[in-house]
């Protein structure tokens, strides 16, 4: 079957996300590796970076679709209202994105509906009438979890019952206990990164220790068709008009 080459722009949070998503899509025969592929992946975003780019990405020249893959778990830097900063959840992220979508006339329900109705579990796709392009949003991992990143999607792709992963989970739990006794200048792993610790530990114990997510996907250490991953790929195909 000939490989599918979508046209458009996709915004993701960082390099890890970029490589993982490209390799996951490749496992579904969607290839966006080459320079010739007309889909550009933008991944210089910091925590709020992808969201900051939403309005200008939709106003950018051209009429091709634009997609945003956003971490649901993020941290807002300290402000006058929240002097210690604030952990942002799914509803915070969706509010921020929604406001920017509205500013560029993306079709949204009026009045505003509850989040689960506006943001389907299969991902958000709508259209900006003014700028004549389709727009998609995917909140990692599955548009439903309150806090999530790409690692949460990837953990659904670890083969069921994999003993090394069970060990990685136990080891990470143990490490989190130790980390509380570490000096504050050199902290060890925090609870918010538990999933990341589990995955990197698991990858450390494969034949090629320390593979990146993308590499491990390509080498098929990860599976490719959990229900979350399948839903993500289906959203991608709908947004970019692939069969």
């Amino acid at each position: 079957m000939p490989s599918l080459m979508p046209h458009g722009a996709l915004f993701v949070e960082g390099l890890d996300d970029e490589h993982a998503i490209k390799q996951l899509l490749a496992r579904h025969n969607i290839h966006i590796h080459d320079d010739e592929c007309p889909l550009r992946v933008h991944c210089k975003g910091s925590d709020t970076g992808v969201i900051d780019a939403v309005s200008v990405a939709i106003k950018a020249s051209g009429k091709h679709p634009v997609g945003f893959v956003v971490d649901t778990d993020a941290f807002e830097p300290p402000s006058s209202q929240f002097p210690k900063g604030r952990r942002l959840s799914r509803t915070d992220r969706w509010s921020a994105i929604r406001a920017r979508l509205a500013s560029v006339e993306v079709v949204l329900p009026t009045p505003q509906q509850p989040i689960d109705s506006e943001l389907p579990s299969g991902g958000f796709i709508s259209r900006s009438l003014r700028f004549e392009r389709d727009v998609g949003v995917w909140l990692m991992p599955d548009n439903r979890a309150d806090y999530g990143k790409i690692e949460d999607l990837l953990s659904t792709l670890v083969p069921k019952g994999d003993a090394l992963f069970e060990l990685a989970k136990r080891a990470t739990t143990e490490a989190l206990g130790i980390s509380t006794t570490r000096p504050s200048e050199n902290p060890a792993i925090q609870t918010k990164n538990e999933r990341k610790g589990q995955l990197h530990s698991w990858l450390a114990w494969q034949e090629e220790p320390g593979m990146s997510y993308g590499h491990a996907l390509r080498r098929k250490y990860f599976e490719h068709n959990s229900s979350v991953a399948t839903a993500f790929v289906a959203w991608f195909k709908r947004l970019y008009g692939l069969p």
């Binding site: 722009a9 550009r40 933008h42 975003g45 970076g49 780019a53 200008v56 106003k59 950018a60 020249s61």
Partner: protein, 373 residues
């Protein structure tokens, strides 16, 4: 200050809205997107419907018929109308919120007017039946300006003004427009030569703005006392294909060539001179990045924004250069206050309105490598 402009049937724009203009405005877009036409249209409005503004833009575009050097320039006025058609009742208009009545240009039949021959300007031979009527402008609507069309569809809009100096013969194509009070000036893409700079600096001198020019140049080099052009008549000084511009620096007894102060200083001097002549008015700069290396773009923007703000000049510029936008973003990061007086608009004649970008969006576009042009 203009914040809104509407065009109807002007050049390639059937209808076009521009909103959210600010003190300094940058129009971006592909080649042939209509950026230059938009600049010219806004100047025509800002000048209050000055016919010489139309004539000068036609000359820049080569839409003129010149028969003899001392004969009047004849403007092929059809190109200003959407669809390039001169027919009865054809018209275009430019409207803005600067308190002026809309400026309109209409094709009228000469028989309609109960005219006496003294009313019309000196009429070229082979006059046809039609004329161009320009209306609108300042708050108190002035007399309409009427120009007969020849049968070939050209119009004589102004007296010839040949200018001769040292063997250079040129039409005084880019004179200041002060038709209804507010000065306006258009810097076209061809103006990077010595003659244009000399004319500009003469204008600065005649307006008594030499110290304003020096202040502006000091944004680029704080030790600069003044810059001036040598006449080239003597064998002293620095000569060369670009003509001699010297700069006097504080603490240095003899002046140095302007170029030794850094990349692009001649062009900066041209921009600073143009700003100095349009105090309280409007400046239009087509392809603002012309003649400047990418490394000095941020400096150029600092010069323009700071001077325009200090001297109440509304600036409209165009570019299709990425480096120009990158330089702007670099300046915004260093001096966030300058963002507030700036607007960036993408122009596409196929749309019906411009796409306005907030300064924060420009920063995001550069950071994320998003194409906004």
């Amino acid at each position: 200050m203009l914040t809104h402009v509407d065009l109807a049937r002007y050049r390639g724009f059937k209808t076009y809205k521009v909103r959210g203009l600010s003190r300094v405005n940058l129009f971006v877009g592909m080649n042939n997107s209509g950026k230059t036409a938009l600049l010219e249209g806004i100047q025509f409005l800002a000048s209050g419907g000055d016919p010489s503004v139309l004539a000068q833009s036609a000359i820049r575009r080569g839409e003129v018929v010149v028969r003899r050097p001392d004969a009047p320039t004849l403007v092929e006025i059809a190109h200003f109308f959407f669809g390039h058609q001169i027919e009865p009742e054809a018209d275009f208009s430019i409207t803005g919120n600067n308190g002026y009545t809309p400026v309109t240009v209409k094709v009228i039949s000469l028989e309609d007017r109960q005219s006496k021959s003294e009313d019309l300007p000196k009429v070229p031979r082979r006059v046809g039946q039609f004329a161009i009527k320009i209306d609108g402008g300042r708050r108190r609507t002035p007399e309409p300006r009427i120009y007969p069309l020849t049968r070939e569809g050209v119009v004589q809009m102004e007296d010839p003004a040949p200018w001769r100096f040292e063997g250079y013969e040129r039409l005084l194509i880019d004179r200041m427009s002060r038709f209804q009070g507010s000065p306006s000036y258009f810097i076209g893409t061809d103006q990077v030569d010595s003659v244009s700079l000399a004319l500009m600096m003469d204008e600065v001198a005649m307006l008594g703005r030499d110290s304003m020019l020096a202040d502006a140049m000091r944004l680029l080099d704080p030790k600069l006392e003044y810059a001036r052009m040598l006449s080239g008549a003597s064998t002293l000084g620095f000569r060369g294909s670009k003509g001699g511009v010297i700069a006097k620096l504080q603490g240095v007894e003899r002046p140095v060539p302007l170029g030794s102060l850094g990349e692009g200083m001649r062009r900066m001097l041209t921009l600073a001179s143009a700003l100095s002549t349009t105090r309280g008015g409007y400046l239009f700069i087509d392809e603002v990045d012309t003649g400047l290396h990418y490394s000095v773009m941020a400096k150029m923007w600092e010069l323009i924004i700071t001077t325009a703000t200090a001297y109440d000049i509304q600036v409209f510029a165009s570019t299709h250069s990425y480096d120009c936008i990158y330089g702007l973003a670099k300046l915004f990061r260093k001096q966030p206050d300058l963002k507030q007086v700036f607007s960036v608009q993408r122009i596409e004649a196929e749309r019906q309105d411009s796409v306005a970008f907030e300064p924060e969006e420009i920063l995001a576009a550069i950071r994320e490598d998003i194409e906004i042009r």
